[in-house]
């Protein structure tokens, strides 16, 4: 059931728009964004492929269980809890906030922002408290429904006659400027769909292999190119910095000639309702399960109906989103997302090295002596129980 993994890669590749990645990239377009993106593609391709290879060696185990095998329990607990609270939880909240603001701006500007958030946070919280297996099914159905819209949108954008390819070539010419750090960090975010493995590796079976693993770098690079160059093509090399809601404005530059809807903006917003909710669902779901693991070592992937504790956690997370929205303005949200993107970059690198360490430990214990290796695999089996 390896296909579920690639859905994570796809929607994370697209959600960057709600994480203000295009804004960060555009800001540095003359100061090393293009070369930064190239460096990021190299770094992220290596990191994603290495992480995938590492997780392949631990079928059916999420990051918490693997970490428990080789590290002391308290260290694992601290690790998991801080990852849940400082990486996974905020990312969902940031995206929810920026999508809620975008939707409010274009759908009903008169409505108070918090009222709008009730709907979105409610739906996301409800989705996130379901079991891991349910979450996977939701992802697939949602992706199947959204994909036609994405294809329509991309075709519309790339074949558009108003797109100025010279502007794109001009900006691409700045490739020789030394890369800036923030663009590298921001661009690697597009690739981090593979990080969902820390939880969703639990769904994988003994002896699974990632087929078509080249899809991850290929598609993420494609999304990166689209997210950076298409707005430049529409708004020009200088005009592009004028917009707060950059991509919504880009979508609004296109028109549908046939059909009920005239402005592509609405197609775009509908599409991003789905993608944002998917992203928020997954990050919050990971948060909930990480917290539950630190509390009582819970690691089942199937429970229907959703358990009480999950519901309480998701309600708490929804409330946290409210508090966040109440105190933080849109500009501050943008700054928070910048901090988050950089933090995430380092956490990701750390995770990759830890996974490498775990694999090294596994290999060492296997090669040292056979009986101990068997004990090891028995321990893995036991941890999985």
């Amino acid at each position: 059931m390896i296909r579920y993994f690639y859905y994570h890669v796809f929607y994370v590749g697209m959600i960057n728009i709600m994480m203000f990645v295009p804004t960060l990239l555009i800001r540095d377009r003359f100061h090393g964004a293009v070369s930064g993106m190239l460096v990021a593609i190299a770094i992220s391709s290596v990191m994603s492929l290495v992480t995938m290879a590492c997780f392949e060696r631990f079928p059916g185990l999420g990051y918490p269980e693997i970490s428990d095998l080789y590290l002391p329990r308290w260290l694992t607990k601290v690790n998991i809890l801080s990852a849940a609270l400082f990486v996974w939880l905020p990312s969902g909240i940031i995206v929810l906030y920026s999508y809620a603001e975008t939707a409010r701006m274009f759908f009903y500007p008169d409505m108070p922002p918090l009222v709008n958030l009730i709907l979105l946070a409610g739906a996301a919280a409800w989705a996130s408290c379901q079991s891991t297996r349910t979450v996977q099914f939701i992802q697939e159905i949602a992706m199947v429904l959204i994909t036609p819209l994405i294809i329509l949108f991309l075709l519309k954008a790339i074949t558009n006659e108003n797109m100025n390819w010279d502007a794109i070539r001009y900006v691409a010419g700045y490739v020789r400027i030394a890369p800036s750090f923030i663009t590298i960090a921001a661009s690697t975010f597009l690739f981090s769909g593979y990080m969902s493995l820390v939880l969703f590796n639990r769904m994988h079976e003994e002896g699974f292999k990632f087929k078509f693993r080249w899809v991850v770098p290929l598609f993420s690079s494609l999304f990166l190119a689209v997210t950076f160059f298409v707005p430049i093509g529409f708004h020009g090399t200088v005009g592009v910095q004028e917009y707060v809601y950059l991509w919504s404005m880009t979508a609004d530059s296109m028109a549908l000639d046939y059909g009920f809807i005239n402005r592509v903006l609405y197609v775009f917003l509908l599409m991003f309702t789905g993608i944002s909710l998917l992203y928020v669902m997954n990050t919050w779901h990971t948060t909930i399960h990480f917290i539950r693991y630190t509390l009582n070592g819970y690691k089942s992937v199937e429970e229907t109906p959703a358990s009480r504790i999950n519901i309480w956690f998701s309600v708490g997370i929804g409330a946290a989103a409210f508090v966040y929205m109440y105190f933080i303005s849109t500009e501050e949200n943008q700054r928070v997302s910048e901090v988050w993107i950089i933090t995430r970059f380092f956490v990701e690198i750390l995770t990759v090295f830890m996974m490498l360490y775990f694999v090294w430990r596994q290999k060492k214990s296997k090669s040292k002596n056979k009986p101990r290796a068997e004990a090891q695999s028995a321990a893995i089996g036991k941890a999985a129980e």
Binding site: M1, A103, Y108, I138, I141, V144, G259, F260, R263, T304
Partner: protein
Amino acid sequence: MIEQIRKELQNPSDLFSDTLDNGIIQMEVCYFPSLCDPTLIKDGLLVPFSYRFELPVFNRMIEADPCFSEVDEPQLWTNLLLKGTLLFKIEDTVYRFDAQRKLFDRPDEVQIESTLQGPQSAMTEDLDMNVSLVRLRYNEPTLCVEQHVLGEASKSRVTLLYDAELVNRDVLEQINIRLSKVKVKTLRATGLLLKELSGRRHKLFPIILQTERPDRIATMLERGKVALLLDGSRFGLVLPVRMFDFMHAMDDDYEFHWMSKFLLMLRYVAMVLTITLPATYIAIVSYNPEVLRVQLTLSIAGSRVVVPYPSFIEVFLMLFMIEALIEASLRLPRSIGSTATTVGGLILGQSIQQAGLVSSIMIIVTSVVAISNFVIPNNGFGYSIRFIKYVFVIVSIFYGLLGVVVTFFSLIVYWCSLRSFGQPYLAVYVPKNEAKRHHAAAKGGRSS
């Protein structure tokens, strides 16, 4: 024997009992004439008893014919009688003779799930007939038929059918657990059994498929599902099912490939329309008129010029009308039904728009909703869809178009979170034993 039975049954007037004498031997007979088949009794028992009677020959017949058997335990007598068995006593031994009256000796005509070119026979209200109808279409030696008796008062026979080689053992285990937990006084219809087996009471969507077609049951058995037949009901239950099974009409299997795929797509489009259209109308009119292209927005606004109240009142008004119309035409005798539809649909629809109570666009919306709802092949699922559109309407009153989209996402979440006997309700493709592994994990086995 007769005295005891009469005492136990409080001397019912419809019980026939007599002592017959053919000159050689005496026989006590008792049975309910209303439950038994008189020709069967005459040919099977009375003729051999009266003409050319010889005791060894008669005894040989009782030994050899499977319809006869000895009944040693007197406490079984009343039960057997009530099931339509004849009891007779010769030389201090009580025998039974199965002579149930068969009300149905031929398959019924399909009434609900009709097809154009498929088989036209449907199940009857007789269990044995139904089992034979299924066996006829699924003639495999591996087909298992299990008998259960449910209902404290009705003591209805329930038959479990499955292919022993294909069936998912987990599902079977869960069904047996749930069947043993069924506590009802009288089991009158499969709908009751469906509710009892579904577990949680407040489910919005059916997780068991109800069908009257033996060919559908046969195809489902072939896919490793389990069928339940209830005596006295002309519907069978099939489980576990996925959402897609409810959208499948039997014609899809019988017509040629591309056309049936096209019709399947059409059904899904119709389902989405019937769920979202009233809510979208509210959203477009009251919140987001700018979403549609200008000409369309203007014509919608133009048709609403005379309507004095907000769009959601209009929607509730029209939805109430159409629901009332459907409900009325369902219960009315067929001869009055057409009058109701003409008055309700044509005349009222026309004049309500001319009177300026609702816009003409709303009339179109209502008709599309009703027609699209009828496209759904399964009745139970259609009911759920009919209900769920009100949730969308209510959310769209407060949140407009975004509300509709988010509620649709929530609907997908709900569908995905449902399980039909441990199997996913909505998932694109899941290997057969995938669920098993995760169940093992949930119970404490290996999680991989």
